[in-house]
């Protein structure tokens, strides 16, 4: 969850302007527009900067979301903010070191999603993509299968995990991450 802090967002917007990028606040996150950062079709790309108050499982999940360019905390060094705001300075994700350490531990401890729960490799892959917040249509596109097939896999994996919906499935699969 992002920090709901108007002053912090205003200050980051001021810093963004001084670095020559536009920055707009929405839903507690900052969307950064870089005029020069267009995709191959000339469409403007935007990236989202998240500042989290606590480093919990939700904060770690943000690091894997599409469109997120940085996950920082109020305690992060100012240099990381400038790195996150600098146009195309970094191709990837800027994360606070404390978040990166938690991510590394999560990866080191991770076992394939659904392992020991009887999920097939395909069901585990679908669960992983659900955990990244992708809708079923995008999951189908990624895997080169139809949405209906994804729905069938989802129904089976919900039954194996003993859950009712994707939110519960992702939470069940990710249980224990918050303590990692």
């Amino acid at each position: 969850m992002s920090v709901d802090d108007q002053l912090l967002q205003d200050l980051i917007a001021v810093r963004a302007r001084s670095l020559g990028v536009r920055c707009e606040s929405a839903d507690g996150r900052l969307t950064v527009d870089d005029d020069d950062d267009d995709d191959a079709n000339g469409r403007e790309r935007t990236t989202t900067l998240a500042v989290v108050g606590t480093i919990d499982a939700e904060a770690l999940d943000l690091c894997g979301r599409d469109g997120i360019s940085a996950v920082l905390t109020p305690q992060s060094p100012a240099e990381l903010l400038d790195l996150a705001l600098a146009p195309r300075a970094v191709d990837g994700l800027v994360v606070d070191p404390s978040i990166a350490a938690r991510l590394a531990r999560r990866v080191a401890r991770a076992e394939p999603l659904g392992a020991n729960r009887g999920l097939t490799a395909r069901e585990g892959e679908i669960l992983r993509l659900m955990g990244r917040g992708l809708p079923l249509k995008q999951i189908a596109d990624r895997l080169g299968i139809t949405t209906k097939t994804v729905e069938n896999h989802a129904t089976k994996l919900y039954a194996k995990l003993g859950v009712r919906n994707r939110r519960e499935a992702v939470a069940r699969a990710g249980a224990g991450d918050a303590e990692a």
Binding site: Q6, L8, Q9, P74
Partner: protein, 193 residues
């Protein structure tokens, strides 16, 4: 109006230290654990430290002779806190959710900004007179330690009605939290005592 005042900022968030310098045109920025020598030389002092205990540490329990304008940007405030910080020499308090605009207005000494701060406004504040009898009753009861459930039982208000009155009262007083509203009442009571 202060021309190019000597502005010092104490910010608990290193992430925005450079942003503070940008926003306040070259202001000097400290962390709360840095040596605070020189704080009393500032013409405007901005204390961006969320909690009362951090503020106490920065101000060494009120031992400093503070700037003519000392603005505490806090995350929450209790009515008794605002009395204490005024005694320490803090001239304005402002909740972080108010954002940067009212703070810049204060630095420019533009007290007419709609969100200009608590202590600065109370001196000649007529906002309390704008509260309805029900809004005043709600704040008085909450200030006396009554819970919302007890208040509803006593008045017959629905949960929705109580919340509507609370939000309306905060809006009229130009504050963001019930604690700030209660602090205004406390200060008003003190100044008329």
């Amino acid at each position: 109006m202060i021309d190019s005042p000597n502005i010092l900022v104490v910010s608990a968030s290193p992430l925005v230290h450079a942003a503070w310098r940008d926003a306040l045109d070259g202001a000097t920025v400290f962390g709360p654990n840095d040596d605070s020598a020189g704080l009393d030389d500032a013409e405007v002092l901005v204390l961006d430290v969320p909690t009362m205990s951090q503020l106490r540490a920065v101000l060494r329990g009120g031992a400093l002779d503070l700037a003519p304008q000392c603005i505490w940007v806090h995350a929450d405030i209790e009515p008794e806190d605002v009395v204490t910080v005024r005694a320490w020499g803090v001239t304005h308090t402002m909740h972080r959710s108010a954002g940067l605009a009212p703070l810049l207005a204060l630095v420019r000494e533009d007290r007419d900004h709609p969100r200009a701060s608590l202590i600065g406004r109370i001196r000649d504040d007529a906002a309390l007179d704008e509260l309805s009898a029900e809004e005043t009753l709600l704040l008085r009861r909450l200030g006396a330690g009554q819970t919302v459930a007890q208040l509803r039982a006593a008045t017959g208000w629905s949960r929705h009605e109580a919340e509507r009155l609370r939000v309306s009262a905060l809006g009229k007083l130009g504050v963001h939290t019930t604690g700030e509203a209660l602090a205004i009442l406390t200060l008003a009571d003190l100044s008329t005592a």
